[in-house]
Symmetry: C2
């Protein structure tokens, strides 16, 4: 498989394409590398040296933080155009892992080039700062939710989170391969609790279980479950 040049790449959400000058896009295109990761392969491994940043050209990824005990926490999901490894900035080693949830194509740019790019393309830095600020906002909200919601609410939120990131296929199933364990790691509980809660949602006709797959029947119903935790501001 040949490397896609940035100039020909059709991913319109890529930060490089959005914020860099044509000359710099060309430079990056020349020196970047590109790797295909199979389902469940680790793109980034917690504890490894930070060598650069990853840009998802096309794929579905979970970002996980692993405890000493092996328990995992899914910190966020990512897909096309999203960045991986930016938390390594200013650090020696990656604080988290990133795992492909299905086959994913990822571009990689080394640190030295990145520094040059940032100094020469202030719009990229600005764009990334806005991105960071949104990430912070999202995760802060999620932290509050994990702290305040009960299990039922947290599972509802996890389903909505996955739906927002990966969408539904034509059969209205969540459009990403995942296990009960993944939901448990998102929510901070164990697989049994997820099973029980999904069963309950199914009896309430909010979802339908199809083997490992989950069909979203009533998004509004799930949203209603968590609505009391969200403030909406007057415009």
């Amino acid at each position: 498989m040949r490397k896609t040049s940035c100039e020909l790449c059709t991913n319109v959400n890529c930060f490089v394409k959005m914020y860099c000058s044509p000359e710099w896009i060309h430079k990056i295109s020349l020196s970047k590398s590109q790797v295909y990761f199979k389902q469940n392969q680790e793109i980034i491994k917690e504890g490894e040296l930070v060598l650069g940043m990853f840009f998802i050209q096309q794929g579905k990824v979970k970002v996980v933080s692993t405890g000493l005990d092996g328990r995992q926490q899914i910190v966020r999901f990512a897909n096309d155009g999203h960045i991986l490894g930016h938390r390594g900035l200013g650090y020696e080693r990656y604080p988290i892992s990133a795992v492909a949830m299905e086959g994913s194509l990822v571009c990689f740019v080394v640190n030295d080039l990145l520094s040059e790019v940032f100094m020469a393309n202030p719009k990229l830095s600005m764009g990334l700062m806005v991105f960071y600020s949104r990430e912070l906002r999202k995760i802060e909200t999620r932290m509050k939710n994990i702290a305040h919601m009960n299990l039922r609410e947290k599972v509802a939120e996890a389903l909505l989170l996955m739906m927002e990131m990966f969408g539904l296929n034509k059969e209205h199933e969540l459009n990403v391969p995942f296990t009960r364990e993944d939901i448990a790691s998102t929510v901070g509980t164990n697989v049994e609790q997820i099973s029980r809660q999904l069963t309950e949602f199914e009896s309430a006709k909010l979802i339908q279980k199809r083997g490992r797959k989950v069909v979203i029947l009533k998004k509004a119903g799930l949203e209603h479950i968590i609505s009391k935790h969200f403030m909406q501001y007057a415009k």
Copy 2:
């Protein structure tokens, strides 16, 4: 009280002083405003319009996210040199509030000037990106901890968090005014549980309660309680 000029300000942790050119420091100094906030006053109010960024010249601050029900989550603590309101970047309204835990002096820079500053001082943007990335890392770790730790561990972590940010005074008390409610909001539980847990820590001779104040007797003991949740990488 007169406004401190940036040139004469002694806060060495300020991002402006660290990363901007002398001309830009001067420009900022001229157009910034400076406000003193008393204990428990709101520096930033969730839902209000984002007009700029705040830089803490000297003070102690908690950043809180409030639920519809009024339940609060302390998202992080901040002190001298830290930034407030940066999560508003790219947003219309602030997603969180910031409250002075004791009298605090804060500088404010409006949006328009900020954009100019970023475009003209790429090192500032870089510095801020590293800052953001560290914030992300911290909060992701904290999210995992809130999700995985039991109450005892979470309270130990909250005490260590405050100690790291605000230090101890000569009597080894946590050097910041706070209530049990503050710890509860950090941990995601209620005041009663905090009382019980502090009592338990006191019997274990890890801390000593002096009215509202908390003396840290054995930091290593608190660290040991949470150690099983932290990975350390080989150098």
